[in-house]
Chain length 339, copies 4
């Protein structure tokens, strides 16, 4: 393989740049030329493709977001979109692709591979909800940023003796909420993977103040449950009488310079993707499992360890769906000092 | 003066702890005993008062919020509240008070002074909207925190080619928006001190994209204008067709470890408050003007340099109201590269 | 077990406070009383012991260092010291101990257990060089702090076209250097676990400038190799002609607010230590291996999975010594774009 | 004026990029073309000059160092060097220059102006030691970075009951030491502008421990006094018996993302430099005094407010030399709680 390309797809995540940099530098060290594709699959189809070299990635390791820009492009699920994309790859003599993004991006990588263009997926999202890896690129940074924000809210909550409902991102996954909640000493963490009883939530708030154990109260709420305002309204309905505020950390936790850990994981996986392409391997996703690099077939049977299988009528099955660490939910309860 | 007390009042602000620490340490060095009053004037009236020493303030210089806690307590505007407070001060032998907070806190300080308990005000708020000082304690930190958040939002905005309306605190003042807007390279800054035309805002967004000069667009919005969601809705009504998001930095910018600058200013003003009380001076507010400490009578005539005057029918006039730096608004326009 | 104690020993590390907090809160939730021991084993022997409750640990989760203070106390290796310590524990009715620290601390824990006071060790050090765990408490923060400092040095190195030798802590281990080196895009990483040739180091510096690939050059040096000044002097001897500076990040990377990850790991391990003591288990060290909690006998046979064994003549053998990730050294070379 | 250039000279400082960005964007808004000169006066003489536009400065506002790179180039003090530089400016049709740097840079600006190429100086250095301004670009960031490092050293000093001598940059000025010392609650601050008695330093350390007031002790030392190791050695000679460590913050405090305040000041001054050039004004340096923009003739008489004058025999006199705020030294002593 003499020429490869790299793109970022889906929501941006800190560390995507670190992964792109690793792809570029590793490829150069292997004598492979690298091209960048702007705005994900959309840019591939439109031919928004340009040469990358070491100078171009010199300053991006510590930068948040993705300098290749990203975009959602559902059209790539259709054969027509795929063929247009391939046309462009051919134009540049590109033989393999590294795709950094989420589930949707992996399916695109599968399609490219099936069309004879080996593509390797890297898990890039803050939500940590991608199968085939213990950690996604961007998750550690999002947890760090959310924790820093929660530390600041603790200052105000303490100063005024207030209750805060703080919403954090994570799509349908509670991982960011669980990690950032433990890291910031949250009194309660509400995630979509667990049932909760709003009356219990309110009772605990009350109990904390009345026992004199708590001078303030922080509830970390995963966005997959509902919005902070809505949750606070439900608490009021359920009888909360504390000085209650709702706040949403919002888009702030998507950005920012990646943590050292995210940069290391991204560099490690990025370099490995090039190793795979070099050997002509595509249709796989790279991940970190038990502190080691792993790769899994994107599509296939459960027995083969594939991330996804197809049913007879063409539906996608996730073979080993991502699970939040509910032992961490339990851990936090055991530290919250609330009956 | 042998015994003084210190309290924080109104919204919490980073650096309040640094000011309290300076009051305590300076008082000790002058042979004066110091007491802390919890929860502002409410705690004074309830007698929530305790001895402070060097050990107690050893670790607070770098902490956000106020370890004395704060509370709004409108009852202190009434004579009855004041007399109860004075009763408590007498119980502890307290002869003077340092009050860290906003306008309302200053009026309380004035009342205490009139009752024979000299009280000195220090400007503590993130909003920078207090008369008698160029900078309030907490402003520099709030600007720093907002700027850091805006840097992160830039990452996402760039990565996806989006337009963001980002709301920042500041009550009726645009200072945080102006400083953080310039510091983060905002494309537009909307503050309550200036008129704006929503059609012009939308036109500039469009112009930026169409000219190819802007790949994304950030609008920093002071909360004194309206909420981010509302502003974004108005933009859509006015014809905005960009990928527009609204986000509110919210309470995050109230907290956090104070910047070095805030710690220095707070320490400087806190120590000076003790100097004043030591000489029996009360009814004044300390500030920083042109890089020097200044003190102003809280109540009096404009000629005396008082911050507030009373009209014949008892209304409060602000003699020299706080003004946002509209030259900074102009500066940002000249850098925004938008016609 | 009705009463336990917790101490920190050896060099301080960010996250020790988070671990202490978890021990305290978990114990309270299990109905166990907790005592803090100041200054490690020295404080135990001197009876510097005090009651801990939830309020006392309310604010420490985010603080660096250890509020229990730490001290090295070699006398605890002697029976006499141990008996004095036990005397003190008895005085307070303490039945079990959590010890947060390094190898030496583990041996003390073993001795206490042998004397009938079950003690559990937690790995607390920035160096990541403790057996029985993939990560020590404080390592992630030290890597983060070193990376942040290296990012800053990159600014200056780039601005002036300079070569920097940057020394980072880690005692005899290269882990901090390897992680922070990759995370900051170091051109070369020198660790004690690998041979290096000073002529090769100098040749690569030269090659980088002469090929036009590098405008500046950063060498991350683990302290276990030698000091930065000494290394720079050796480079000059070996013919380096670049604008070379040596700097030592020094003690700065020991301190600071722990990262979210360190707080989570510390909380997790701290809570588990209480679970073990509750069941009367001592003489074990808790660790994280493959994303799960593990515990290992501190002393025993290799077959039992013990961390240490004794030879017949009483020497200590480390059964499964800590190894730096030399695959990361290789990874960095493959990204450094240097021949 | 249709074409101007901008360069950075002397030591790099955070905020230089923000100033360059402001020069570029303001010039564009005034219809002026802008060129960047790499590596200061050296690059000017060598013709290392290139066109700048808005895209090129899009991402640099938040970056430390100077993307134009910097270099010391004493040859520009000679006529020959100047004439070569002018030759290059002519080649590109450049009519005016903005020079960001220190004293030496200002003299170069004066020379260019005398040769008919109006040049405006902006104060860029972390040391805050440039005449004609209350604050230099980079100073606030250096203080912030030093304070953050000192906060971390406090963690370790407290944890082990140690004394630390911490050296901070500042060339011959004590400003960084004074501000960062106050901001971090240093016990003693030693600056070149004040005499000190090593026996007194040691006595205070001892007094702090013996009185029980101090559990640890931090001495912030400006590099203009001497190195940290040397100072610690002198303390030991003078009888210090504490657990004493010396550390040098070193180059770390030169780099890093500029603070919001530095970005605002740099943007403000950068834009103003273009205003001046537009009117054909050169030979002046821009500064901030009492919260307002000021400009001063670089060379002239004291009466004219010039920064420098020449004696009859050609020596340079500094008319109003920079003074450190010794009231801050006094403030810190009054807060240090040491007799």
């Amino acid at each position: 393989m003499k020429r490869i390309a790299v793109l970022t797809s889906g929501g941006d995540a800190p560390g995507m740049n670190a992964a792109v940099r690793a792809v570029v530098l590793k490829a150069i060290s292997e004598g492979i030329e690298v091209f960048g594709i702007n705005r994900g699959y959309a840019g591939m189809v439109e031919g928004d493709i340009f040469k990358l070299d070491a100078k171009r990635v010199e300053n991006i390791l510590s930068r948040g977001g993705t300098f290749l820009q990203s975009a959602r492009y559902p059209e790539f699920a259709q054969l027509e979109g795929q063929l247009k994309g391939i046309e462009q790859l051919k134009k540049y003599g590109i033989e393999g692709v590294v795709v950094i993004g989420g589930d949707g991006s992996y399916h695109g990588a599968m399609r490219l591979t099936e069309h004879g263009f080996p593509a390797v997926g890297l898990p890039g999202t803050i939500d940590n909800d991608i199968v085939g890896t213990d950690y996604t690129i961007g998750f550690d940074t999002a947890v760090a940023t959310a924790t820093e924000a929660l530390d600041k809210i603790q200052d105000t909550a303490f100063s005024h003796g207030r209750t805060f409902v703080v919403e954090v991102m994570g799509r349908n996954a509670g991982d960011i909420a669980l990690w950032a909640g433990i890291a910031s000493g949250a009194d309660q963490i509400i995630v979509p993977e667990e049932e909760y009883d709003i009356n219990e939530v309110v009772r605990k708030v009350k109990e904390g103040y009345e026992s004199g154990e708590k001078s303030h109260h922080i509830i970390v709420l995963a966005e997959g449950v509902m919005g902070a305002e809505e949750f606070a309204a439900k608490m009021k309905e359920a009888g909360d009488t504390s000085d209650l505020r709702a706040t949403n950390l919002g888009h702030v936790i998507r950005g920012g310079s990646p943590t050292a850990r995210d940069r290391v994981l991204a560099s490690w996986m990025g370099a490995h993707a090039v190793d795979l392409l070099k050997e002509g391997i595509g249709g796989v996703a790279v991940g970190i499992h038990n502190e080691q690099l792993v790769e899994s077939p994107i599509l296939g049977t459960a027995e083969e360890g594939a991330l996804f299988s197809l049913t007879e009528d063409g539906k996608i099955i996730v073979n080993n769906p991502h699970k939040a660490r509910l032992d961490f939910a339990e851990l936090n309860r055991s530290l919250a000092n609330l009956k």
